[in-house]
């Protein structure tokens, strides 16, 4: 029986200066390089496939399979293109806050994962695309890469293996859309971050039109423990199709918010119990399983297994495991309007349904939130959502309609209440962390 919490990635976050090379190596860090270099590249890919590791950035695509798509050997015209690894460290999905603490505390876990991954996919240059708005994380990554070069973990002929690798830390400049993998590639090429049409997929034509693997920080940081401890060890945690441990991020109206690393398949009820429950004196109203782009759920879903299949069967998505908890003081219409304003701001403007559609969604929702609309506006809103969903190059617009359609599904009456009340029936002061006791009574 596996324990309820299984700290692996977070196991050393409270050590003395765990971001340093010295601290990381003292706990076995970089020992997986020796193991991997004794294996063939294909054997490392097989090991990650066998572990069952799936992408931790939201989509849940099997990581080893993604690596296996990188074409080996020369192109049809006889040329050999370089391969690239790009780490998506642009953590920006509302509610998501797992990769930032990981890179802050133990950036070498990511760097070791980068080396192992590049060895497996035969890449000699990797980029860590980190969002620009996290200065201390950028500093810690820069330092970790510098230390890894000085220790001979990066550079030419790493530990006599004949394998060469350069790593570049690249700070972004503030654009949610760059978390979308093909927009990230355009941004890394020095352009506006706008998604590309697929196919071709990045595995065939990614960065500089060369074969490219793009993985989330947590996915890459999970590779060292798999190489060190074996695929079976990793797969002994989790559920049948969702293997391993992962970081769950609890935020909002929780007694003790924070990061909890557990086997995939734990439930929100279990996590809330560990975190002291919902804010004292209040009830759970709604929550997101994996960021604002995943349809909201309610207290009916407390026992849904938080793995890829379980959350999917409940009508949402596991996403980034960003569990944003809202209690009964929160107005769902206000919450949804704010997310919608976010998607409107962050739409890159490339696809018309998203660029224009998110603007219309904000107009319609604002009227409803102010109690100025009519009940038929709800049908208009759902019709707009129907005209936006699935009609753009990337998933931003799909994410934009998720909170709207799911909130109308579960809280239709609350929208109507705004109309009957001539405005929002909630007092926003009661939902704040610093709400005075009398306001909460």
């Amino acid at each position: 029986m596996v324990d309820a919490l299984t700290p692996v990635l977070s196991a050393h976050w409270d050590s003395d200066r765990p971001w340093t090379l010295e601290s990381y190596e003292a706990t076995g860090g970089y020992s997986a390089l020796t193991t991997a270099f004794a294996l063939s590249q294909d054997d490392v890919i097989s090991m990650v496939k066998d572990s069952g590791l799936r992408g931790r950035g939201g989509a849940g695509f099997p990581t080893g399979m993604k690596w296996g798509f990188i074409p080996q050997g020369p192109e049809k015209d006889g040329t050999v293109k370089p391969h690239y690894l790009v780490v998506n460290a642009d953590e920006s999905e509302p509610g998501t806050c797992k990769d930032i603490p990981l890179m802050m505390a133990t950036p070498h876990t990511l760097v070791e994962g980068v080396i192992l991954t590049c060895y497996a996919i035969r890449a000699n240059h990797a980029f860590i695309y980190v969002r620009g708005e996290v200065l201390q994380v950028v500093r810690r990554l820069q330092r970790a890469v510098q230390e890894a070069y000085l220790a001979g973990h990066l550079g030419t002929d790493i530990h006599g293996s004949g394998f060469d690798l350069d790593v570049t830390v690249h700070a972004g400049a503030g654009a949610y859309i760059c978390g979308e993998e093909t927009a990230l590639l355009d941004s890394l090429e020095g352009r506006r971050g706008q998604p590309r049409l697929r196919p071709p997929f990045p595995a065939v034509a990614g960065l500089y039109a060369a074969p490219t693997v793009i993985n989330n920080v947590e996915s890459i940081a999970s590779v060292p423990c798999i190489v060190r401890n074996g695929a079976d060890w990793f797969a002994s945690m989790g559920t049948e199709k969702s293997k391993g441990m992962t970081l769950y991020s609890l935020s909002g109206h929780v007694a003790r918010p924070g990061q909890l690393e557990a086997p995939l398949g734990i439930t929100l009820r279990q996590l809330l119990d560990l975190a002291g429950g919902v804010r004292e004196g209040h009830q759970l109203k709604f929550w997101t399983p994996g960021g604002s782009s995943t349809p909201i759920l309610t207290d009916e879903h407390l026992d849904v297994p938080l793995d890829y299949e379980g959350v999917g069967a409940a009508g949402s998505m596991l996403g980034t495991k960003a569990l944003q908890i809202f209690d009964d003081t929160t107005c769902v219409v206000r919450a949804v309007l704010r997310w919608t304003e976010f998607y409107k701001h962050e739409s890159c403007g490339k696809c018309t349904p998203c660029r224009e559609g998110t603007w219309w969604l904000v107009q319609t929702l604002s009227r409803l939130e102010q109690g100025r609309g009519e009940e038929s506006d709800l049908e208009a809103l759902l019709d707009q959502c129907d005209n936006i969903l699935g009609r753009s190059f990337c998933a931003l617009a799909d994410g934009a309609v998720s909170p709207i359609t799911s909130s109308i599904q579960y809280f239709r009456q609350e929208y109507v209440d705004h109309l009957e009340n001539g405005g929002c029936p909630f007092d926003p002061a009661r939902s704040t962390l610093f709400a005075p006791a009398e306001a909460l009574a």
Binding site: W19, Q142, H170, F342
Partner: protein
């Protein structure tokens, strides 16, 4: 390493040191245009914003048009076409932080500083100026409500703590990030983002209390990942520190 904090003279050419550093950024990449985003960060650290001559310089060095550079500079939120103050204060007003108090903090700061969104307090000559902006989710939701100063975390804020924070900044008092070092200026921060480290990586904690929630519970309960076959397994938190 020094960062210019004086007034920007846009009439003349960019200084030779800056041009040399822009070339250093280009040399990091297999294809030169990839350098554009960090180049614009460096120009902001030198000029306090993205200027017309900065755009021309990027275009010249990369062999692309000024319109292409301008298209990039206007796409990303962190690039500013108007001068930014000594400190950039960003209040998260995405849904979770807004509900937890971010909206109230932002309203209080607008009132206290007498500026609107994306506006800068007047430079009275002696003190420090502040640019106030509401920002989107900054990946610190377990520390909501969150305020960022020059993209350093100020966790678990209230209207009162945020008011003290901006007053301390304006009065030149030392301010430390809750998960980071002493707050530097916005221009110094932009230089780090351009890839020129400032040797502050070792400052601040490894993690805040929320980041350690699960680890602490696991230690109390004696929970860990399954044992590994080889000795010296590193996955057991009971073996740690």
């Amino acid at each position: 390493m020094t960062v210019s904090t004086g007034p920007t003279d846009e009439a003349g050419p960019l200084d030779a040191t800056t041009v040399a550093e822009l070339r250093q950024i280009i040399a990091r990449y297999p294809q030169s245009r990839s350098a554009l985003i960090p180049m614009l960060h460096l120009l902001q650290s030198v000029e306090g914003r993205v200027t017309a001559r900065g755009i021309e310089m990027c275009a010249d060095l990369l062999g692309i048009s000024a319109a292409e550079v301008s298209g990039v500079a206007t796409f990303y939120t962190m690039y500013k076409r108007r001068p930014v103050g000594t400190y950039h204060v960003g209040v998260c007003t995405n849904t979770l932080c807004a509900v937890m108090g971010g909206d109230a903090i932002f309203e209080r700061l607008k009132d206290h500083l007498d500026v609107g969104n994306d506006e800068t307090t007047p430079d009275d000559g002696g003190g420090a100026s502040i640019t106030l902006e509401h920002v989107e989710c900054n990946a610190a939701c377990d520390y909501a409500p969150v305020v960022m100063v020059n993209w350093e975390f100020m966790d678990n804020q209230t209207p009162e703590s945020a008011t003290r924070l901006v007053d301390d900044l304006r009065q030149g008092k030392e301010v430390r990030s809750t998960r980071g070092p002493r707050i530097c200026t916005w221009r110094e921060a932009e230089r780090v983002l351009a890839g020129f480290p400032d040797d502050r990586a070792d400052d601040g904690p490894a993690a805040g209390p929320a980041s350690l929630l699960g680890l602490r519970i696991a230690r109390e309960q004696g929970w860990s990942a399954p044992p590994t076959e080889h000795a010296g397994g590193t996955q057991n938190p009971k073996e740690g520190s």
